[in-house]
Subunit: 160 residues, 2 copies
């Protein structure tokens, strides 16, 4: 039951929502829909990982490092769209938990090479089933793998 499969250019459908307000204009905004969906997915992520006390960003760092051992700290920050100044505290937290290690590069002693530790890998292995279940739930909501691939294609077109 989808009341939105028609282009809504000038003809506004009676978009009465459960709150009794007419959302018809604001729902034409792609950014608004994006934000709502993103908040919903992040909330689901946080609920799934609540027992683990892990933020999406922490998980992303660990995940990135598995295939990029020794990457520069600023490189990882930029890959995740985080400013290097703000990334310091994130690495501090992961290092305090023993999941990540900073090593001074011997080639350029200004840079910190980031390494996921054995403890970090063990931890990540515990996390993977939770993450996969989370992604499976999203997949089910979206209506299958084809729908998910379609969504990713469209999202990538919006990302510079």
């Amino acid at each position: 039951m989808n009341s939105h499969n028609m282009p809504t250019d000038s003809i506004a459908e009676p978009a009465e929502a459960s709150d009794g307000l007419d959302h018809s204009m604001i729902e034409d905004a792609v950014g608004y829909r994006l934000r709502r969906a993103q908040l919903s997915v992040f909330q689901a992520f946080n609920e799934a990982f609540s027992s683990k006390g892990l933020r999406p960003t922490d998980f992303a760092v660990l995940l990135l490092l598995t295939r990029n051992q020794g990457a520069k700290q600023s490189e990882v920050a930029e890959a995740l769209g985080i400013q290097r100044a703000n990334f310091v505290a994130i690495v501090d937290g992961l290092e305090a938990k023993g999941f990540v290690e900073r090593r001074k590069s011997e080639l350029d002693r200004r840079v910190q090479s980031l390494h996921i530790t054995d403890a970090g890998l063990t931890y990540l292995n515990e996390l993977m089933p939770i993450w996969q279940e989370h992604e499976e739930r999203l997949l089910a909501r979206l209506g299958g793998r084809q729908a998910r691939d379609q969504l990713i294609t469209l999202l990538d077109r919006l990302y510079d």
Copy 2:
């Protein structure tokens, strides 16, 4: 030139990005893609509206009120997913600019009825072309109206 030795435990597509890091795992995360796209779209919105000094939320409030004159303050807040405590300052700002008016309901003197003013409507009319150009640019990036409708359908499936 990538000197990182990465374990290839499963079949990984060669997802070398411009930063030289392997993003193949993290990019499997729907939430991560959603966040990137949302930030990109909000940044584009802010650039388009920068001369007007308007935040996405302010715009959303004005837009909602055009079709919901006299709506309860807490009703509008909830429709936008904003807690009523945090919504106070937003209405304060719009009221200070003369775009919105609070009127005590005579039926229930606890509630504030929100009304967009004539000045608010005039202002919104100036904004509409900017918004429409913004949406047109998104439409072009997505590849047409059908792609946009498809995106919205998929985003709505992720939203409770």
